[in-house]
Symmetry: C2
Subunit: 415 residues, 2 copies
Amino acid sequence: MTRIVQKYGGSSVATAAHILRVAGLIAERRRLGEEVVASVSAMGDTTDDLTSLAHEVAPHPHPREMDVLLSTGEIVSSALLSMALHDLGVDAVSLSGAQAGIRTDAVHRRARIAEIDAERVERELAAGRVVIVAGFQGVSEASDVTTLGRGASDTTAVALAAALQADACEIYTDVAGIYTADPRICPDARPLLDIGYEEMLEMATTGARVMHARAVELGAVYDVPVRVKSSFDPTLPGTLIHRETSMEQGNKVRGIAHQSHIAKVTVRGVPDRPGIAAYLFEPLADANVSVDTIVQNASVENLTDMTFTVAPEDLEGALRVVQNVLPHIGGSEVVFAPDLGTVSIVGTGMASAPGYAAKMFRTLFDHEININMISTSDIRITCVVESDRVADAVRALHSAFELEREPAIGATQVE
Amino acid sequence: MTRIVQKYGGSSVATAAHILRVAGLIAERRRLGEEVVASVSAMGDTTDDLTSLAHEVAPHPHPREMDVLLSTGEIVSSALLSMALHDLGVDAVSLSGAQAGIRTDAVHRRARIAEIDAERVERELAAGRVVIVAGFQGVSEASDVTTLGRGASDTTAVALAAALQADACEIYTDVAGIYTADPRICPDARPLLDIGYEEMLEMATTGARVMHARAVELGAVYDVPVRVKSSFDPTLPGTLIHRETSMEQGNKVRGIAHQSHIAKVTVRGVPDRPGIAAYLFEPLADANVSVDTIVQNASVENLTDMTFTVAPEDLEGALRVVQNVLPHIGGSEVVFAPDLGTVSIVGTGMASAPGYAAKMFRTLFDHEININMISTSDIRITCVVESDRVADAVRALHSAFELEREPAIGATQVE
């Protein structure tokens, strides 16, 4: 029997009408004889609403209690979807993360899955039921509710697919798949038929929010092929994220990712001696500040500058930490820039072929977009630019690398 | 160390501002050195809102899933209250019914507490924390969420007070205590200083909605004195529900209870033979129709009439069941009256003193209120009257039994 794990995002279950449509999609799969497990997000803006409510009672809500609070959003949608299935004559059962055996560490707000005890899910499937799992949540060893971080219903689905040895994992969202760039700012963007795990990871971590980065990592580790599809038009093929990427090597840039808003912090005049980086970044990690790019310039007269980027909402916390450690590391001053963004070109082909970086920098220069900072990986080149030039940069690069062109028929390997 | 269990109802935690006030009340008790466990209801209209949402996806929501859905309301308020306490510098922890060890049977929507495993709650108290328990819910042996029925956060509190051997149980609500009658329809009504368990039970089951009937039963069984207080003015004494009722025997009617809307079903011409009642009422119970009063008239020519009352929302279901069994029990016809109500006088003194029933019937007659049906217990006399005369009946009886008069000083035994 074919076993599939699905995930329906917040926009796919935003209202009762949306939930009824999702129930219809699942009922159809049951009629085809498939075993279905679905992970669901909270309805529409529920998570934001609950967060606002929390801030009304406490400026800095306690993380454990925040997890208890936020976890209810996914429980509500899981129960409603299960009810809707029953009403269609499909036997179903909703399970919380704890009931579904999703065991995590005890890091509230950003817990990581330690293991999945799939016994209950297997038992429900064996009884012929559709299993609806509240996404985004798990349970710690102390039996406390944990959440896996924003967008982590994807992670729930991929982890379940791995644990249940599912035949397929389908992520339903409100777009037609993974695009070559964000179609809201780049009208020529088109959905990719497939993309490799590493490419997707670079796309996700540098701004393509369709898929949660940790879900992609998990997919890669457990080799779970993940199909990203539109719940509004499930007849579209969507994008397959899998190990083998396209055989088509003509265009080695797969997509343009971007982040509209990041902030940059620079610590000037730091003595260039071992251990300085640890002194700086350990307390940032302790303060739960997630650091993106880190750049350390070559030292001049044994002094160096240390620059890193953070999300705008983490800037205040980052500056507080840096000011505290400044006397210990001996830096001369801290400067920051709050209104920056990033644009990245991503593709596995780039590492083995020269000229991509040069073409990127030339394109930005031709459009008079100033490059503030550069960082690279094997399959990605990222430029930090002014926030208000991000959209221009995405469009210029999309066009320069001819991403609007469909790959030749047959050149794309499909599952 | 004094240990108290409190319950805060939906109106006491209706908004963030309400929750902050409740947190202040609890923080004050902590400053006095007391151990505090609080059971909370869902905020304001949350339960109604969730119920409406359920009916948008399914006309007859699956009971198990309805429990999953509704249980989130209390979890939200418990997490918010715990956050608010942390913000006041009070260590606190929110627990779901399952986490608090509230084990129930598996009858969804109307589960009953089987036992309380207080290990986790005791551990949190020993660590110096205030424990906030999501009311109204528990967990079945199969690890499924159950709910205890509308208003059952009271039951959660009393059961916890019994299991934790608390020194006091306080039910906070939006009124000043248990009134001699509903003050909304009887302006002369006044709060009682104390009332016996049995009296309270009769008041609760015949319409005084301040306290959940099962909570009163539990209090009686485990001898937990329960104080009903206003969360809006906690300086008021409220009403103590306890074993010993007032020594003041001058007025044996403690209060007037009423139900504004009930429906009556009569099965006519039933052969008067053994087992008929079981034939009729077993299928009603199976259909989850809760029957209030049952009256069987003396038989004439071996035929009798069987009359019972139900909540208006159960009338349709009751009629369906009765029509189905009519051929088997041989009744001639089924008639019903949808627009009735009840008025009751309640008091332990009545059983041992004659004349209360006569005075009640005379008072109603004097006010031209027709009595449709009568039922009595040791400490209660109930008359079924037209729905639109219920308020008049309450006022007339309150006045006739002089309930507006305060008991003499010293005549009321206080804890």
